[in-house]
């Protein structure tokens, strides 16, 4: 097919089209709507063959998607932010059914105050559900990750749903060059889904999603989900290997940027990693041995890869584009847990930035590098920093005045 200028949303729609999905229950929400608009247009034109149903809410949408997946067909759906939370109950439920549903979440900050710009409190609220999570930096990655997600989810060693995440606006509405693979190559990579455990056949009735009473039964099912998710780390690597062979694009659970000889490391996720990489380049020009580790797979959490990548580093700054109110950055805690038993572990600093799509400026990255370097000198790690600039504070003061606050 060649290269095209596509938004993240357009790339997601292409991923779904090329995966030859059978069924798409849909409900619109900014900044996700363009995905389902594009798919709906293709289906009505006849260029895509799938059943498309508009639902009454995200709760019904996730239920329909999970149920359809349990009949043994390939299913896609997508939402964002408030919509994800509205369907939240069913995300746990569907993961427990062990069906290979693939969803896209287009990240957007959560109410209140209600907003449109991206951060990751929505997607990270899912971290304990059983959904696997792939986080994307570029529009290309969105398309590729959807294809990889089906292969991963449908593997019998895994059989858990996958959520592919992209940032609202910064990816969803941003166009860049995207290579659209041809459907033949995609078919040779992603064969038709052959369900062994969850399907709908008149001659072979079964009850799915049943109740259990008794902790010993309940624990078994939860542990099995965890073991399947752990398996996904190895299966994912196989999927990446095959993907690279077919499409010549290389992915891992993490991405290492100028990391090999780095002493000071930024840990980031999603589209703001591009800004982080530019900051690393600038820091290198100033003589700071900087690098960046981007987390691509957050569930399962790639502990061995992270430990390996951060071995021997002097200090690591986790930039969380989320806030666990009353605790701080969510990924900071996870990296901390991952590294705690390592000998010679690096100092770990926490920064919160980019909430609701707030920019992280060059000066804020410089501030982060200053703090990392001085933490190594003094061996004192201060509490989490909430990144904010003087100019932003001036704008906030003006807004408060308009609102009659002062």
């Amino acid at each position: 097919m060649g290269k095209e200028m596509l938004t993240g949303n357009g790339a997601a729609a292409w991923g779904v089209r090329l995966a030859e999905v059978d069924y798409i229950p849909a409900y619109p929400i900014t900044p996700q709507t363009e995905i389902i608009e594009t798919i709906a247009k293709w289906i009505s034109e006849g260029s895509m063959d799938a059943s498309f149903v508009t639902m009454d809410s995200e709760h019904s949408m996730v239920t329909a998607a999970g149920a359809a997946s349990a009949t043994g067909v390939r299913v896609f759906t997508t939402t964002s932010s408030q919509g994800l939370l509205y369907g939240f109950e069913m995300l746990y439920t569907v993961a427990g059914w062990r069906v290979p549903l693939v969803m896209v979440n287009v990240s957007r900050g959560l109410s209140s105050p209600i907003t449109l710009g991206p951060d990751h409190n929505d997607i990270l609220a899912l971290r304990d559900t059983g959904f696997l999570q792939i986080h994307c930096e570029t529009c290309q990655e969105v398309l590729d990750s959807i294809l990889m997600a089906y292969k991963l989810a449908e593997d019998e060693r895994v059989l858990l749903p996958v959520m592919v995440n992209m940032d609202g606006f910064y990816l969803s509405f941003t166009r860049e060059n995207v290579e659209i693979p041809d459907v033949g190559t995609v078919r040779s990579f992603l064969s038709e889904y052959q369900p062994e455990h969850a399907f709908f056949k008149a001659g072979q009735p079964m009850a799915q999603g049943v109740a259990v009473l008794g902790g010993e039964f309940y624990s078994y099912f939860k542990y099995q989900m965890h073991l399947a998710s752990q398996n996904a780390l190895d299966v994912y690597k196989e999927v990446c290997g095959e993907f690279e062979k077919k499409f010549d694009r290389k992915y891992g659970t993490i991405e290492e940027y100028m990391l090999e000889d780095a002493e000071y490391v930024l840990v980031m996720t999603n589209s703001f990693s591009t800004l982080g990489k530019a900051a690393v380049k600038r820091a290198r020009e100033k003589g700071i041995k900087a690098g960046l580790l981007r987390l691509r797979v957050l569930r399962p959490f790639p502990d061995p890869d992270i430990k390996n990548a951060l071995k021997g580093k002097k200090a690591v700054a986790v930039i969380d584009q989320n806030i666990s109110v009353g605790k701080g950055g969510i990924i900071y805690s996870e990296i901390g847990g991952c590294l705690f038993n390592e000998k010679n572990r690096p100092l770990l600093l926490s920064f919160i930035g980019g909430l609701g799509g707030k920019n992280i400026s060059q000066e804020e990255f410089e501030f982060i590098f200053d703090k990392i370097v001085s933490a190594v000198d003094t061996e004192i790690v201060e509490p989490p920093y909430l990144l904010y600039t003087e100019n932003e504070w001036k704008d906030m003061t003006k807004l408060k005045e308009t609102a009659g606050k002062e």
């Binding site: 290269k3 200028m5 209140s112 105050p113 449109l116 606006f169 910064y170 509405f173 941003t174 166009r175 860049e176 060059n177 589209s271 703001f272 591009t274 800004l275 990489k277 530019a278 380049k281 799509g357 920019n359 400026s361 060059q362 000066e363 804020e364 501030f367 920093y385 909430l386 990144l387 904010y388 600039t389 003087e390 100019n391 504070w393 408060k400 308009t402 609102a403 009659g404 606050k405 002062e406």
Partner: protein
């Protein structure tokens, strides 16, 4: 890397313009990235869109706060305190303004020191397309300024507009008008300074009590502060010789902007009339004319 920022009003085509330019640059062999920013998606409200063009990988995302080139698709935005189209323009940057005035007049009127290019693309659009839809035309101007080849530009216009215009004849008119604008502008040698960014201080924000820090508005009556009168492309003007004082226009105005004078004749509150022209459509006596707005009207902006 060249960074372009388009300023328009919702419905004028700033987003599509940024996309046509992005595709044109892509077809001409560059790396490109385009991105629109709009709030509550209101027709007439100020919106911005961005295009980055580079030979290298583009290591930036989000809004462009320091553009090399600014494309002002609606002159009235130059005095809009929320749009502020000239903010952050790099030293040596270029400003295109959609206006019937000359660059010199425009520089004087708005007190601009940088390089100004002007063309009345609204008039070209009205004459050649029949509607003030500026997407292809603004993209043409931008493409020409940055030196995109004509073939790449033509390919981009056809590719982007054919997805949203189904009427073949209208598509041809749009393409012709865009190419007319492309050829009416000369390419420019762009020599912007690297960066004029003032260092931003990172601060620690203090705790404030919920009376201050909750998302509630305590002030009352601030809606009138935001005037919408400069959203108009056309102004409705009554011919009292023809007007029958039937009050249809008063009843039909969706914004309650038409009042009645002592003699019983309707008149518009031009501070807030958005120029939707429903009154012109609805008037049974055809007593309301539409007159094109020409200049920024600073008196009709925000209070």
């Amino acid at each position: 890397m060249l960074r372009l920022r388009f300023h328009g009003r919702g419905g004028q085509g700033a987003k599509v313009a940024s996309r046509v330019l992005g595709t044109a640059a892509f077809l001409d062999g560059y790396n490109a990235q385009d991105f629109p920013l709009y709030g509550a998606e209101k027709r007439g409200a100020p919106i911005t869109a961005f295009t980055r063009i580079s030979r290298e990988n583009i290591m930036e995302r989000g809004v462009i706060s320091e553009p090399d080139i600014v494309i002002v698709m609606d002159e009235t935005l130059l005095s809009d305190p929320q749009a502020m189209p000239l903010s952050g323009l790099k030293k040596g940057g270029i400003i295109f303004v959609n206006t019937p005035n000359s660059p010199l007049e425009t520089k004087e009127r708005y007190n601009i020191a940088d390089h100004v290019i002007t063309l009345d693309i609204t008039k070209i659009s009205l004459d050649m397309i029949g509607n003030p839809v500026l997407s292809g035309l603004a993209a043409a101007v931008a493409s020409r300024i940055v030196g995109i080849g004509e073939d790449a530009f033509r390919g981009a216009v056809e590719k982007e507009l054919s997805g949203i215009i189904s009427d073949r004849e209208l598509l041809v008119k749009n393409t012709e008008a865009a190419l007319y604008c492309y050829n009416a502008i000369m390419p420019v040698q762009i020599k912007t300074a690297e960066s004029i960014r003032e260092g931003e201080n990172v601060i620690t924000i203090p705790f404030e009590i919920a009376l201050v820090s909750s998302p509630a508005i305590n002030a009352t009556g601030n809606t009138p502060l935001r005037r919408t009168g400069n959203w108009r492309v056309f102004r409705p003007v009554w011919d009292y010789e023809v007007c029958t004082r039937c009050m249809t226009c008063v009843a039909r105005c969706p914004d309650g902007c038409i009042h009645v004078n002592e003699d019983g004749y309707p008149y518009a509150d031009y501070d807030n009339c958005k120029g939707c022209l429903i009154c012109v459509e609805e008037c049974p006596a055809k007593a309301i004319n539409k007159v094109r707005e020409m200049h920024s009207r600073s008196g009709e902006g925000d209070r």
